[in-house]
């Protein structure tokens, strides 16, 4: 297993790198960009919520802030549309982190269940601000400088930037998982009071994790804004974004490293496919809801855990069978 692991990761990465070279249809590469974007976001979400157990349903606050950073800076600085705009992406991530500090400081004053609800409430504060404040252009939205790339390969640069984000988020999440800081987050998830008693500075640790995870969201929002060329408050401050990211993490495996990547890949790709195949939005809602329910009820720990349990169970059964084998029994006696 330990030898197979790096190979499998490398193989997965190779497939992702080669995808836009092999599949050049813009309809597919555009699904590819969005899928990678969600994989990065879900991994980042999991780095805080999955490790600490504090389920945040306010991620769209940072996604939207990142998108607005891109839109406002690029229009106010009169930047020319093109690859130069990509430099704004890390800036958008930093802005999201700056916003995450007061948001986290308020939301993390309460314990888990209430935290969920407060992140929802704070999300609505930001959505309403984006719609009603004057500097955001209100409900009319903002157009960013037009990017003069041909339609056939328009998505490709975005694809690789998004892939870079996925790699960044995954490495960061893995590094956190192995660090002392990651252990502190996991201790909070298991028993916050005991962690506190053992000297973990729980509030500082939670706030740091929350703020760190905002960085990728801000970058993803900026990328999304650039990809779309225009933004509206309802599209970047979208409540379904919050839920989708959480669902992807639960689908893949809450608190695991591979889970959010798989969840993002499976869910976003199938969701895009469903939207394109079913023009009937209501039917799509029902299908999505049913899929969602089935996953939670039958694989409550996510695909990664369910599969590895099945795999281990199979190995155990095989061993059991071997011990029942007359020859094996004879050998023992």
């Amino acid at each position: 297993m330990s030898k197979a692991k790096p190979t499998a990761w490398g193989l997965g990465l190779a497939v992702l790198i080669l995808f836009p070279i092999i599949e050049t249809n813009p309809a597919w590469t555009s699904i590819g960009v969005l899928t990678l974007m969600f994989m990065a976001c879900t991994t980042s979400w999991n780095m805080f919520s999955g490790y600490s157990g504090y389920v945040s349903l306010g991620s769209a606050i940072f996604f939207g802030s990142g998108a607005y950073t891109m839109a406002l800076v690029s229009t106010h600085a009169h930047m020319a549309g093109g690859a130069a705009l990509f430099w704004l992406i890390p800036l958008a991530g930093l802005v999201a982190m700056v916003i995450a500090v007061p948001v986290g400081a308020i939301a993390l004053r309460v314990r888990r269940h209430t935290f969920v609800v407060i992140t929802i409430a704070l999300f609505f504060v930001f959505q309403l601000l984006a719609i009603n404040a004057s500097f955001t252009g209100g409900a009319a939205g903002i157009y960013i400088p037009l990017i003069p790339w041909g339609a056939s390969y328009y998505n490709v640069p975005f694809y690789y930037v998004a892939l870079g984000m996925v790699i960044f988020a995954t490495l960061l999440s893995a590094a956190v998982r192995r660090s002392r800081f990651g252990l502190q987050l996991l201790a909070i998830r298991d028993d916050e009071d005991r962690a506190l008693g053992l000297g973990v500075r729980v509030t500082a640790v939670k706030l740091t994790g929350f703020t760190m995870s905002a960085f990728t969201f801000g970058m993803a929002g900026a990328l999304y804004c650039m990809l779309q060329g225009q933004i509206y408050p309802q599209f970047v401050f979208d409540p379904t974004f919050d839920i989708t990211v959480a669902l992807m993490a639960f689908l893949g495996g809450f608190g695991t490293l591979l889970g959010p990547l798989l969840g993002g890949l499976i869910l976003e790709a199938s969701q895009q496919y469903l939207t394109q195949s079913f023009s009937n939005g209501s039917l799509y809602l029902i299908l999505f809801g049913v899929l969602f329910l089935l996953v939670i009820l039958f694989m409550p720990q996510g695909i990664v855990v369910a599969v590895s349990q099945w795999w281990n169970g199979r190995a155990q059964r095989r061993e059991l069978k071997a011990t029942r084998d007359p020859a094996a029994v004879g050998a023992h006696t």
Binding site: T114, V117, F124, G281, S282
Partner: protein, 294 residues
Amino acid sequence: MNSSALIHAVLDGVLTGSVYALMATGLTLIFGVMNIINIAQGILVILGAYLSYTLSVHFGIDLFVGLIITIPTLFVVGVVVERVFMARLKGPERTSMSILVTYAISLIIEGALNMIYSINIVQLKAWYVDKSFPIFGIYLPYIYLFGFILAVVLLASLYFMLYRTRFGASIRASLADQVAAALVGINVKRVSTICFGLGIAVTAAGGMVYGATNAFNASTSYDLISRLLTIIVLGGMGSLGGALLAAILMVTLGDVVAVVWSPIWSSPTFFFVLVIVLSLRPQGLFGKQSARVA
């Protein structure tokens, strides 16, 4: 701004606030007893409104008489949802999972309602929706008064049941401590199922009044659920009295802001107040301190 507009806002706040209190009480009851956050409460209110709509438009049944059908219907919906989905949720992430499950249920209901009723906005019609009565120099449709009376009667009977009956005592015991309640012989499973049913059943009445005082479609439920969640957090999750007070306080405040300032800022006020209160008092107005540990 004139004073009659302000009176109107305060009256409207108190009258419709009681209806919100009814819906929020269902939500906080479910959370308190079962540790489940029911995101579907918003869409269930809309479902209740649409049921009343069908009964009144296609069968000519009066909105209030129709409640005799819709309240038990939604009670059964609640019991079925609890038995089929909620009872299966276990483990440390139970509350988070409940949010996702009820959100999924809410998506399914939303899709179904959109298909059946289309996304066109409708409003419930009756003579008491159109006709108004004079009060303090202003006119209000009768539905506000009738809705208020309905909410008060239902809340009073709910409180009577909770505080004056043996079954109510077992619900309150489960609210306070599930393990201890089970130890003294209370069937917590049965209490949970009935609580979930009750928590959902109130949406039938809430939905009818909501549908008669607001134009709605399935997507209105998002605004509704975010308001209801704010109310129960503000009141202190699991606190019945807190939900009642917070509902009236918040709806009145929202209405006053709408008159004094602008309707745009009515909903944000909700969330701003929540953020301020929680910064000072993390457990909400009437929350138990132990809620921090939960």
